[in-house]
Amino acid sequence: MNIAKPNSYRSGPDERGHFGIFGGRFVAETLMPLILDLEKGYTAAKADPAFQAEMNGYLKNYVGRPSPLYFAERLTEHLGGAKIYLKREELNHTGSHKVNNVLGQIMLARRMGKKRIIAETGAGQHGVATATLCARFGLECVVYMGAVDVERQQPNVIRMEMLGAKVMPVQSGTRTLKDAMNEALRDWVTNVHNTFYCIGTVAGPHPYPTLVRDFQSVIGNETRAQMQEIEGRLPDSLVACIGGGSNAMGLFHPFLDDPSVEIFGVEAAGHGLTQLHAASIAGGRPGVLHGNRTYLLMDADGQIQDAHSISAGLDYPGIGPEHSWLHEVGRVNYLSATDDEALAAFQLLSKLEGIIPALEPAHAIAKVMELAPKRPRDHLMVVNLSGRGDKDVPQVGDILRGKK
């Protein structure tokens, strides 16, 4: 086992999909040949300039990239410390960063001749992005969503259905994101010949954590260039929320080998770390689920525990394996924010900047509220505003009016 600090934090995974001890391919034999095919297909696509060129065309004209890097002047004044920039992923078509990855995977599915797309979704942002691109390219789309999430994210359920996707409410287990992922895997095992599984985060069996990271790295690559243009240098710190961790990995990865850049991932602490929460690194330990070894919330017998977060998108008892590795090697600092802290941040950003964030990045904003005041005024802090809050307006409205 490799205990020494690596020469580069960006060279993983190894050929078996391992980041240190994390990652791997823990799947049923039925899926193994498909995963090997996917790896082959992705390697070929990556080496094909036409694939990248076509994707760049859609990123520009369909998704609306590059997303702005916006100086949050009033938030900066209010907090009285670091100069805060927002990476405006919420302005992408479909309202979040999820579309970056889905575009890549759908184009890969087309190359591989797959006509039926399945996906799991928590908050519904990945489901909406998948339904959108399936509509655009005329593909059949089935989205698995926990019945609890179907209830609390109704606007996104309606959107997916309008886009022509079939939303399957999942009644098994805890009826949230982890069960949606189980059900999507069951569908995939059953429909191996025509189906492409479009995973929404940097988790699952190899090569998913890598390919999702690569498709999301557009966030960090743009941020680098934009910051260079605006300030003439690298940022000093990065902050992003983490459920599975795809928006965070997309922002972080291009900066991992820049030692001057401090990096903060923010998990969901729910009611608090001693109570129900969704912070796998803060409150979990390494285990094996959904095709990879990573930090998981579980009991002493290895049974997976219920996660809790006010945000359906962070309500998952695991985290991407590369994050687990970056935690163990100490390159990224993993913090957590509670439901109440996220709600306060949600309101603050809405009132100061006229931007209603999704509850997911509200967790990142909550930690910016702690980190920024402790840093000097010339410190450049980038926070990934990974999604917009339209989907959360009914839920937050009810909470603020004291209904729930």
């Binding site: 078996r16 791997g24 391919r25 823990f26 799947v27 049923a28 034999e29 039925t30 899926l31 193994m32 040949p33 498909l34 098994s172 287990g173 982890k178 069960d179 189980n182 895997l185 069951r186 095992v189 059953t190 429909n191 191996v192 010949h193 285990g287 094996v288 689920l289 959904h290 095709g291 998981l296 579980m298 002493a300 017998d301 290895g302 049974q303 997976i304």
Partner: protein, 278 residues
């Protein structure tokens, strides 16, 4: 090293008949009833027992086996208690092969070395771990073989001839052919397609080949037993158990018999195949 599995398949071969392999979930619906059920299986004609290790997230299983695992967990079942169940079963039965079937995480958390030592001591003969393909053999397969346990691999309709040697390389005891691409308890297996697949696998290995997924009736068990070295039935037994429970999901006076009676009927089906084959 010869395990009870090797001995049992050698006996069956000399008798010229296929094995009847039963699957039940450990601790379903509670530990005491589950032990009675496992004890009843060989008496009702089961040749090999697969005992499920309950897990919260059984990704390859259908609704029946998922629910069975959750019933067991709700009543406090753990991997440690599963091994205790095996030890208690072995007090009266030292010949029926017993295979633990489940997912890797509970074993990983228990500790691989400690688990293998405790499983061997308890009287476990083999392991079927659904989410450990040959690509992850270093995790448990190789240590299990060293500890003297069989590691039984799943081969599936998606396992092509190119991949079969890798799948069979560290497999011992028997090969479990999954008759359909899908989850447990879903579609019905087609006996002719199964026959072709078994013949294909036999070109690569001398190990017995048992077939499972989608076998629910004595007729189906018999049809498969004419094409393979064993028929595996799980979901149908788990469903029979569930239908015997009271409204709160607790065992009733009928529960053990419900499983035993279906086992006996299925065993008759498998044994019927013997004459058909001769």
């Amino acid at each position: 090293m010869t395990t009870r599995i090797d001995t049992r398949f050698a006996e069956l071969k000399s008798q010229g008949r296929a094995a009847f392999v039963t699957y039940v979930m450990a601790g379903d619906p509670d530990l005491a009833t589950s032990l009675e059920i496992v004890k009843a299986l060989p008496k009702s004609g089961a040749d090999v027992i697969e005992l499920g290790i309950p897990f919260t997230d059984p990704m390859a299983d259908g609704p029946s086996i998922q629910a069975a695992g959750l019933r067991a967990l709700k009543n406090g079942m753990t991997l440690k208690k599963t091994l205790e169940l095996v030890r208690d079963f072995r007090k009266d039965d030292n010949v029926t092969p017993l295979v633990l079937m489940g997912y890797y995480n509970p074993i990983y958390i228990y500790g691989v070395d400690k688990f293998l030592a405790d499983a061997k001591t308890a009287g476990v003969d083999g392991l079927i771990i659904v989410d450990l393909p040959p690509e992850e053999d270093d995790e448990l397969c190789i240590p299990a073989l060293k500890a003297g346990l069989n590691f039984i691999r799943l081969a599936t309709p998606t396992t092509d001839d190119k991949r079969l040697p890798a799948v069979l390389a560290n497999t011992s005891g028997f090969v479990y052919y999954v008759s359909i691409a899908g989850i447990t308890g879903a579609a019905a297996a087609d006996a002719n397609a199964v026959g072709e697949a078994v013949a294909r696998i036999k070109r690569h290995t001398g190990l017995p080949i048992c077939v499972g997924f989608g076998i629910r009736t004595p007729e189906a068990a018999r049809a498969i037993a004419e094409k393979a070295d064993g028929s595996v039935v799980g979901t149908a037994l788990v469903d029979a158990l569930k239908n015997s429970l009271d409204a709160e999901g607790r065992a009733t006076a009928k529960t053990v018999n419900a499983v035993a009676e279906l086992t006996a009927a299925l065993a008759q089906g498998v044994k019927g195949a013997q004459q058909a084959a001769e």
